[in-house]
Amino acid sequence: MIFLPISAALAPLLGTVAGLLTARARLAGLLTIAGGAICLVLSATTAAVVMAGQPIESVGSLVYVDGLGAFFALTIAVVILLSSLGSLSYLAVEQRSGALSPRRVRVYFAVFGFFATGMMASVETANLGLLFILVEAATLASVVLVPIEGRTSGLEAGWRYVVVSSMGITMALAGTLFVFYAATGLPGDPQDHLAWAFLVRHASSLSPVSLRLGFLLAVVGYGTKVGLVPMHTWLPDAHSEAPSPASAMLSGALLNVGMYAIIRFIAIANGRLGPAYASHVLLVFGFLSVLVGALFMVRRRDFKRLFAYSSVEHMGIIAIGLGFGGLLGVYGALLHALNHSVGKTLLFLTGGSVVLAYGTRRSDRIGGVLTSLPVTGATLLLGSLAILGSPPFGLFISEFTIVRAGLAAADPTLVGVFLLLLVVIFLGFFRTTSGMALGPAEPRVHSPYLGALERWTAHAPVVLGLAALLLLGLWVPGWLNALLLRSVELVR
């Protein structure tokens, strides 16, 4: 059974092989898409297997896929597939226009595969030490993607990314160390002291002081990866400078990986310190993130930075959901993670088309997307509505669930503040994107994609993504519901 998650994680390496072999974006892109599709199928199978029976595990939890892991793996696989589709079209255009040299195209696909594999592998382990290593490896791979378009600002964004990220990840390592230290004296092989299942089972015998400090450091550390305020400073730069499909992967998947790590730590902490401690920590970070996201979104001229701050805000919402806790809170948070991944991916891919067509990221110079590029404009408008939590899209359901959790578990004033911030965010975000989408058409703008392949791979992921969000907004499929409930049980 172990080969299933392992091969799901290794599938995207097909794209890496492609990148090493050929410098033609279309060919490499096709292989990457194939890898992504295989990955999705395998992770869906893994989820089915895990739901049917026991978690898949190996010695010391080095490979460990339970409901939670399967859920995140599925989410990430979806993002990988969508981004692979987008990568083909985006890179084909950039290669044709000469913006990316053949060598850079190869580097992109090679690293893209490593990045995807790293992320998949991270959520398929529950060994805290290995988790750290894999998250760091995935981050290092993604760092290469940020400056790949060759701008100085990209290089600086990449540097800031690597510096802040490394600082955060080292804190996470220190947190892991402290949790390990909290487990000294427990029976069993010390190798198991990093295994999540073991730690949760023996949670009541962990040393509280070390655990408290370890949890806090882990949240701060992995929170840097997630983009929680005040560790988010790298996020707007990195996510806006990277090429759009890579931004989609960063926002849609890597942030979720960090969240996965935090959720594992929450489960351990709740076992010993009670839900109050973790809840307070997460609520503080969550509200800070939503607040900062809201404030910084108000007058953003670079629309990719706008999307990046939206990611910060949504991660804050997830943290708030986890903070509110209980069945509703965790369910809402997990569902929101899925919805946000799909939504943000489609937004960034749409943004990629816009950038290619208009040649700029500044929203005040972009207008009339709806008329010039119909499909792109439509998805931009609808995608914005979706990401802002309007019904009938999925994010409305997840945010509503979190609000219900808040009313049940916490002070209604908190919920009121939360809703107020959501309104502010709606106003700021939608003003920009509607300004871009509506208005008279620019005469010299036309679709950048040549040929059916590029057009299909550019438009398919966004349309599919929107459809999925619409579906999730109206109805949560039974199997998804069961998977979510199983995951929630593991965390509480």
Binding site: G60, V163, M171, Q191, P236, R300
Partner: protein, 223 residues
């Protein structure tokens, strides 16, 4: 290893070693010359290798001896030499003038952070008389001081060194405390550090003409 007494010979060596590592971290914080940063970092890594060697001696674990040797060679010699040749000599770096606060102020902040580390995870919370009681607070203090160095410095090479010091702090905690920390994890961490260093090296070389990021030098368009 956590149960090693602080009064035993190995314990004394380790606590002395740890204090010297802390002092070197502070020395790095208070210095303004790039060459000095690298020297202090190299010395700190050598001391770290000594600590790993002591742990290996106590635990009689060959894997730990290998790790001690790796630390000595890679972090004590190779990384400082590589940084010296590829960064300091090639880019002709002398003084670090791009700091947010001066060396004296950063030293004071560093001392405050060290005190804070002792306050939060101080020996009074931990098992008394064991080696962990003296090493954990120092390891935390070194991590915090490394983080401070990264925050206070704006020059890329200096930030890189701050990160390396942070990793040294974590490593100190990891080896000496939890010598049973699964070896695969420690090796993985080790290679992550090296990989991170190489990537940072590549980026710094790429940005050779302006190693103080634009955003910190002048205001860009308000974003």
């Amino acid at each position: 290893m956590e149960h090693l007494s602080v009064a035993s010979p190995a314990g004394i060596v380790l606590s002395l070693d740890a204090v010297l590592i802390l002092l070197l971290a502070l020395a790095c914080l208070g210095s303004k010359l790039f060459d000095r940063y690298l020297t202090y970092y190299g010395l700190q890594s050598v001391l770290l290798a000594v600590a790993a060697g002591t742990a290996a001696f106590v635990e009689k674990d060959p894997a730990l001896w290998a790790l001690a040797g790796l630390t000595l060679v890679l972090k004590g010699i190779a990384i400082p030499e590589a940084a010296r040749r590829l960064l300091v000599r090639r880019l002709d770096l002398k003084r670090d003038v791009a700091t947010i606060v001066g060396p004296s102020t950063s030293l004071i902040l560093g001392a405050i952070l060290a005190g804070f580390a002792y306050l939060v995870i101080g020996p009074q919370h931990l098992a008394h008389g064991l080696i962990s009681a003296s090493i954990i607070p120092i390891s935390t203090a070194v991590i915090l001081i490394g983080a401070l160095a990264m925050v206070v410095r704006r020059h890329m090479v200096a930030q890189l060194l701050g990160w390396l010091i942070m990793e040294n702090g974590v490593f100190l905690g990891g080896i000496t405390l939890t010598a049973s920390f699964p070896f695969i994890v420690e090796a993985g961490i080790f290679f992550d550090v090296v990989a991170g260093f190489l990537i940072m090296l590549a980026m710094t070389t790429g940005l050779a003409e302006s190693l103080i990021p634009l955003s910190d030098r002048r205001r860009r368009e308000p974003t």
